[in-house]
Subunit: 95 residues, 5 copies
Amino acid sequence: MILGKVVGTITSSTSGIEIPGARYLLVEKCNQQGNSKNDFLVALDLVGAGKEEIVMISESTSARETSTTTNKPIDAIIVGIIDLIDENNKIVYKK
Amino acid sequence: MILGKVVGTITSSTSGIEIPGARYLLVEKCNQQGNSKNDFLVALDLVGAGKEEIVMISESTSARETSTTTNKPIDAIIVGIIDLIDENNKIVYKK
Amino acid sequence: MILGKVVGTITSSTSGIEIPGARYLLVEKCNQQGNSKNDFLVALDLVGAGKEEIVMISESTSARETSTTTNKPIDAIIVGIIDLIDENNKIVYKK
Amino acid sequence: MILGKVVGTITSSTSGIEIPGARYLLVEKCNQQGNSKNDFLVALDLVGAGKEEIVMISESTSARETSTTTNKPIDAIIVGIIDLIDENNKIVYKK
Amino acid sequence: MILGKVVGTITSSTSGIEIPGARYLLVEKCNQQGNSKNDFLVALDLVGAGKEEIVMISESTSARETSTTTNKPIDAIIVGIIDLIDENNKIVYKK
């Protein structure tokens, strides 16, 4: 999985995805300190993530292994909001 | 999913894909402000996207999770036309 | 899907793939004008593509969604020979 | 599969993954000498890997081919702890 | 598929993969002339490839479409030993 920071929202009225109430977030990939990578993706939010939160994202087919996304053309979902990241025994990120 | 701008069309008469009336668009990846990345792909259009529109693209196996693309060797589809992108509470793109 | 130009052939007598008469082509990724990217892959040819032709390539699981490649360890196939590419209303490639 | 070095842990209380007791490790991709690549990912640990150990990681759908991860939105797992790497007949890494 | 040169072996006693007698090779990606790209991966060998040989590698789900790798968390296999590569009508590699 990769880490990203929620930075915005995407609105699309003409969609072939058919998930009622789907919430698409603009996520910027980041490292474990929360530093941005200037690389963005659009992910379906499954956990109620808010702006500036660091999240864990599953991609590709793994993104369809949930009841919401089964058989949907979704290739990136937010599967967790990160509380704490420890790197080399130091806390480098805390929500 | 990734964002892209529709920039052209692709015509292929010798095809192993077998989707009648398939419409292949040349899409340039772009960021949330619509700025181009000089990175292109060919995507099957499912939503009637027009030139210069920013679209949302699903890739890999997710691209086959629609009635049109089931069991077809398609790895990129346009699943939505973007109306609005908000980044850090500013509207950065509006159709 | 991505675009590539056929530049050569690959011969492998010791293979675990088991597709009789399989034809593996060396393909160089290219842009919509046919300009090379110096990035190569090996793709199974399904459409009788010839040298110097620009082709459309499906990758990953999508490469197995054909009668020839079902249940075979193939991750890239040539699915179409390109006739025409239009970019911003100009013909940038014609076979 | 790719090689990586375990460098930390990730804690996420708000998760859509539903694997009880799941242990997510922060892994830095490395080469066969164990040199870091400054490229990180989050992987589910299946083998009890410890910090500083070099591990083998399976990605994408392959990451769901275990009893723990079947039908879970997991796209990276640690499948082995590396004991020894030989490159050009020299041992370049030993646990 | 991609091309690579076999450069070493990987030993892992603590593994979650469960393929008896599995042989993991360290492979360096290379171009069609056999020139190295300084980009390495670990692949399961299915064809008895030897050091310095150029091989064809299938990745991702395609890597599980063999009797050995069905339902195993394997994402890269060696599917063929290359005998000959022709590029623009010149033999650029011969075993």
